[in-house]
């Protein structure tokens, strides 16, 4: 295995998807090694590791969409944390995802990616055949650590039960040809979550102003008073 773990600055080091042996080798490195891979807790390691992937299980915490007071949802600074209700479903219990509904979940496993590997999480094929889709933003950057937030969608015509603790996704790791920068600091955005996280948004006008758009259409709540004049809600 040691010949798989080349010098980080070796330009000839392997590319492509990590094979089982390399996954195991990376997991055997101490956590302080920038090339180390952590997946914890990992149950039944022999079965969890395929020739080129690792099975990940569904965690016990969810963010369920709530009925909003507005007739729409605008991803902005005000609503970013108001769309969801936090729910804990203990192992052994289930969560019903109604037909055509979505929930945010997370993996049971906490992972740490090496500095020179990206990850991709895919729905397990057996789960996909029940028309549950677990990821629409599957890419995981190098050095990420945390439980992965899963955007779970039931695209079938029937309610589906989800049991925390059951395998739900597959993690694929890919080499990133990247030189080691010993003193570089790690990006702290999305660092170390253990529960699904709601997305942090700014207001759309703030994002658009950065690319030179100075007029942004928005929907504002308010009332029309006796004189027929619109008063925006503060």
């Amino acid at each position: 295995m040691t010949n798989q773990l080349r010098d980080p600055n070796d330009k000839t080091r392997p590319c492509g998807v990590f094979a089982r042996e390399e996954i195991l080798g990376r997991m055997a490195l101490p956590v302080s090694d920038v090339r180390s891979l952590v997946i914890t807790p990992l149950f039944d390691k022999d079965k969890a590791l395929d020739s080129d992937s690792v099975d990940l299980r569904l965690g016990a915490y969810f963010l369920l969409p709530r009925a909003l007071p507005e007739a729409y949802y605008c991803p902005d600074g005000k609503t970013a944390t108001s769309l969801h209700v936090k729910v804990h479903v203990p192992l052994g219990q289930y969560l019903v995802v109604p037909a055509h509904q979505t929930v945010l979940g997370s993996t049971l496993e906490f992972i740490k990616l090496p500095y020179d590997a990206s990850g991709e999480i895919l729905t397990k094929s057996s789960v996909a055949r029940t028309f549950i889709v677990v990821e629409t933003a599957p890419w995981i950057h190098p050095e990420y650590r945390g439980c992965l937030t899963l955007e779970i969608a039931n695209v079938s015509n029937t309610p589906v039960l989800l049991y925390p603790g059951r395998p739900i996704g597959q993690l694929i790791l890919l080499h990133v040809a990247r030189a080691l920068e010993p003193n570089r600091k790690i990006d702290s955005t999305y660092f170390g979550p253990i529960h699904p996280e709601a997305p942090p948004f700014r207001n759309p006008e703030e994002d658009l102003r950065k690319i030179g758009v100075h007029r942004t259409a928005v929907i504002r709540k308010g009332i029309v008073n006796q004189q027929g004049i619109f008063e925006a809600e503060k």
């Binding site: 055997a28 906490f110 660092f191 529960h195």
Partner: protein, 301 residues
Amino acid sequence: MVFVEVPYSQGPSFFANLMIYHELGHYVFERLADADDRRPAFTLLVSAMDRAFGEKLGDSIKTPGTRAWAKRVLEAWTKEVFCDLFALRNLGPAFSFALIDFLSLLGLMGEDVEGKFDEDHPAPALRLREQQKCLQKGGWWTPVENLPSGHVSLMARLAGKTEPEYFFEFQETVIPAFIEAFLAIVPLIHELAVDLTPHSEAAAADFAQHAEKIDECLLHGVVPSSLLAENRASSPTPVSMINAAYCFHLTSLPKLMDRLEGQRADNLQQRMTWAEKLEAWTVKGVEDSQLLVKSADSGHR
């Protein structure tokens, strides 16, 4: 050890919730008192309370109401120290650290309060002295005594206070006999706590074995539920994780923040965010550990 599951909502204040173990101690004490077949160590404690009352206070207090009140005071102090030691032997020094934070002892201690007993509680100095003794006997103190932390130095300083510095004042009169009576009871409280928690020494040994590796995980932002040593993965106990994480909280949060882009340890808001994250990793580690144990027990690990 029976670990009480912490609700989702309490994750960010996990360390403060360690105080629950003191309250569990009250429940245990009541159960011991109500038991038909009393535990010998408890019977010895009750005898010591009666003897101490008789020898130090019995002759000087004549009225039945005052005698009952005096017994209640001694019993309340006994229960408080018992609950501290019960929690400590289940949780290790993390309980003392949580108590110091919970009572804000770091900022509030002064000569006038450190040695002061009230009707319900013994003095903070005595409580921390007995906790330190218990940690020393149980093998917990050595791994933490040199931590560069205000919590540890406060414990050491208060534990060093001498008995004449303790005082109990009632209606503006200092009554030394209460303290004398109580000091005679204290060794029996230790014995009862030890009798009820025989697993504590093994927990201390696990902590001494795993603390460094847990610290390393936390420094790299990783949940410490599975540790690598000599190419083998092992799982520390929840108690080891809690103690190592609390020590990390007290000493190493700036080191973690220094590894992250845009984070400064002198920014209070950012520091609180990472303290909460650390507590969340600890909760996750404890949950994982319980799953790994269950899985191993059922032969699937």
